[in-house]
C-alpha cells in the first residue's frame, strides 16, 4: 500500500510538472532571445485555451486541428503584442519593458473578462478518458498526462533543433548575443524578434489547449498562477535554457506533490516561491545554467 502511494504521488508530480514545463518552455525561450520576462505569457496561454474552447465547442473541430489552429492564432497574437507594446520601448530600460509586460498581462485578463464574461467554461473532453494501471498496482496514470508529457518533450526537442540547427535559430542566437553586431551582419532584427514571439506564443497556445482538455475548466484568470509557477520553473532550470525549463517544471511539480503528500498542502505555493528565492540567492543561473559574466 505504501509503495503504491509513493508511485502514485510520483506520477502525480510528473503530471503536474509536465504542465509547468510546457508553459515554461515559451517563457524561457523569449527570455533567452530578447532578455524580456514576458509576464503576459501566462495570459497568452489562457487565450490559447479560449481559442481551443471556441474551435472545439462551436466549430466542432477535433483535438489536433484545434491544437494547431490555436497555436497559429496565438503566434499571430504574440507578434501583434510585440509590435504594439514591446517594440516602441525596445531601447528603453529593462524595468520599462517589465512593467509593459505586466500591463499587457492585465489588459488580456480583464479584456477577456469584459468580452467573454468571467465565468468558468467547460472544455469538451477531446482526449480519451482512460487510466492505465502501473505495474499491476492501484496506482494509475491518466492517458491525458501521457499526451501532455509526449507533447512537452517533443516540443522541447523541436525547439532545440530550431534554435541550434536552423537559419532562423542561428539569427535568434546572434540577436541574443549582440543585437547591433547581428544587424551589421545583415540579420533582420525585427523579423527575428517577431519569429521569437511567434514561436513562444504558439507554445503557450499549445499549453492552453492541452491544459484546457486536461482539467476541462477554463477562466480568464487561469493563466496567473500557472504563469508564475512556470516562471519559477524556468528560473530553477536556468532561464533562457530550454532543457532547463523542462527540468525546472518537473522539479517543481514533484516538489509540490511531495509537500502535499506530507500533509502540507496549504504551504505548497509558499515552498515553490521559497525555492525561487533560494535559487536566486545561491545559484542565480539555475541548475542547468552556466556561470557567464555579463559583458559591460
Amino acid at each position: 500500500m505504501i509503495m503504491e502511494e509513493i508511485i502514485q504521488q510520483i506520477v502525480n508530480g510528473v503530471s503536474l510538472g509536465s504542465i509547468y514545463a510546457l508553459i515554461a518552455l515559451g517563457y524561457t525561450m523569449v527570455y533567452g532571445i530578447i532578455k524580456l520576462i514576458n509576464f503576459a505569457h501566462g495570459d497568452i496561454y489562457m487565450i490559447g485555451a479560449y481559442v481551443g474552447f471556441a474551435l472545439t465547442t462551436f466549430l466542432k473541430l477535433g483535438f489536433f486541428p484545434a491544437l494547431i489552429l490555436s497555436m497559429v492564432i496565438c503566434a499571430i497574437l504574440g507578434v501583434i503584442i510585440e509590435k504594439v507594446a514591446y517594440k516602441p520601448i525596445r531601447n528603453s530600460t529593462r524595468i520599462a519593458a517589465l512593467i509593459t509586460a505586466i500591463s499587457v498581462s492585465l489588459f488580456l485578463e480583464y479584456g477577456m473578462m469584459y468580452f467573454f464574461k468571467p465565468d468558468t467554461r467547460t472544455f469538451p473532453s477531446l482526449l480519451p478518458d482512460k487510466q492505465i494501471k502501473i505495474f499491476n498496482t492501484d496506482a494509475v496514470l491518466d492517458i491525458k498526462n501521457v499526451y501532455i508529457i509526449v507533447v512537452t518533450i517533443s516540443l522541447m526537442l523541436l525547439l532545440q533543433y530550431v534554435i541550434h540547427r536552423t537559419k532562423v535559430g542561428k539569427a535568434m542566437r546572434a540577436v541574443s548575443l549582440d543585437r547591433d553586431a547581428a544587424q551589421l551582419m545583415g540579420i533582420d532584427i525585427n523579423k527575428t524578434i517577431s519569429n521569437t514571439f511567434a514561436i513562444g506564443s504558439a507554445l503557450a497556445g499549445a499549453a492552453g489547449v492541452l491544459v484546457g482538455t486536461y482539467y476541462n475548466s477554463i477562466n480568464p484568470l487561469m493563466g496567473v498562477v500557472p504563469g508564475l509557477k512556470a516562471f519559477v520553473a524556468a528560473v530553477i532550470g536556468g532561464i533562457g535554457i530550454i532543457p532547463g525549463a523542462v527540468f525546472g517544471g518537473f522539479f517543481l511539480g514533484i516538489t509540490e506533490t511531495t509537500i502535499s503528500s506530507l500533509g502540507g498542502s496549504l504551504y505548497k505555493d509558499a515552498v515553490a516561491f521559497a525555492i525561487l528565492i533560494l535559487v536566486l540567492l545561491l545559484k542565480p543561473n539555475g541548475f542547468l545554467g552556466k556561470d557567464v559574466k555579463e559583458k559591460v
Binding site: 500500500m1 505504501i2 503504491e4 502511494e5 502514485q8 504521488q9 502525480n12 508530480g13 503530471s15 503536474l16 504542465i19 473578462m113 464574461k117 468571467p118 465565468d119 468558468t120 467547460t122 473532453s125 478518458d129 487510466q131 492501484d138 494509475v140 491518466d142 482539467y215 476541462n216 475548466s217 477562466n219 484568470l221 487561469m222 498562477v225 509540490e256 506533490t257 502535499s260 503528500s261 500533509g263 498542502s265 496549504l266
Partner: protein, 390 residues
Amino acid sequence: MKKTMTLFMALALMVSVLTGCGAKDTGGSGKESDTIKIGLNYELSGNVATYGQSSVAGIELAIDEVNKDGGVLGKQIELIKVDNKSDSAEAANVSTRLATRDKVVAILGPATSGNTKGATPPAMQNKVPLISSSATDDDVTVDSNGKVREYIFKTCFNDSFQGVTMANFAFNDLKLKNAAILFDNTSDYAKGLMNSFKKTYPSLGGKILVEETYQAKETDFKAVLTKIKSTNPEVIYIPGYYEEVGLIVKQARELGIEVPVLGGDGYDSPKLLEIANKDSLHDVYYTNHYSPMDTAPEVVAFKEAFLAKNGKDADAFNALGYDLAKFLVDAIDRAGEANSEKIKDALASTKDFKGVTGSLSIDENHNPVKAVTILELVDGEPKFLKKLEP
C-alpha cells in the same frame, strides 16, 4: 490681471459644479417618494457568479410579480443592482454605496457568507437592514461575542445544521463509519460545515480518518486525493463550491476512489455536471434548500413562472432569491412605512412566512427555522432523497 481672470474662472467653474450637484440631489429625493428602493449587492461576476446571478433572477421575478399587483404600500419597487465581483472588499464598497448614495431602504445579498460578512459593517453603520438568502455561515447574523447583529438577517439555514445533517445521514442512512474530510481552507462556509461535521460524526460513533485542505482556484488535487485514498475511507465529506468540487470529484474517480462523496449547498450549480461529467457524479449526496422535484402547489407555480420568464428551470438559488424578495416585501408591508428602522423590526418578528423553500420563522438570532433537503446526484442529475424538518 491675467491671474485674477484665472481665479475668477476657477471660482465660476467650482460654483457651477456645486450647483450641478445640488440640482441632482433634489432630483434624486423627489424621485424617491414614488418608488421604494431596494439595493442588490450580488456576485454578478467572479468565481461564484452563478450564485449571484441566480439569486438576482429569482429576486427580479418576485419583484415583477409584486409590482404587477400594484407594488407594496401603494408604491412600485425599484431594484438597484450592483456587482460585488465575488470579492468581500468590493461587497463592503457596494454596501456603502447603496446605503449612502442610492439611499435604499434595505439591501439584499450577497450570496456567499464571506462576502456577506464583508458587506455587513457598512450596513450596520448606516442602519440599513441587510438580508442574505444563502449566507449559511453561523456567525453571519451573530458576532464573535454571541451578540446579534441588529440589522443583519438571513433566510437560509446555518452551516452547522448542514454539517450535522450530513454527519447523521452518513452514519445512520448510509451506515458508513469511516470518513475522510477534504475542505476549502480559504472559505468560511466550508470551514463552518467541516467543523460541525467533525464534531457530530465522532459523537455518533463514526471515525474521521484524515482531514485535508485545499484552496479555492486550485486545479490539481491528485496529491491530497492520493493521500486520502491511502487511508481507505468509506465516505468523503467535501464541503466547498462547485468549481473545485467538480474537479475534485472527477480526479478522485480517475484515481479509483469510488466511495460516496457528501457535501453542502455549494454543489448546487449546473456547472458541477459540466466540469465533473456524468460518469464521475455517482454516489454524490448534498444538503440543499430546495428541490425542483417537490410537488407542493406554491413550488409548482414558482417553477412555471420562472420557466416562462427565464426560459430555464429554477435552481435552489433562484428559489431562495425569490423567497428573499417576497420575505422583504412582506416585512415592508407589515412595517406600514418604507423606513429602514421599522422594516428591521418587522423582519425580526416574522412568523410562519410561506415560501417556496419552505415556511420560515425568524428566531432571536435572526436565523430562520426551516427544513433541509437531501439530494442525490444520479448520472449528474439531482434526485430528491428526503426532507428533514428542524
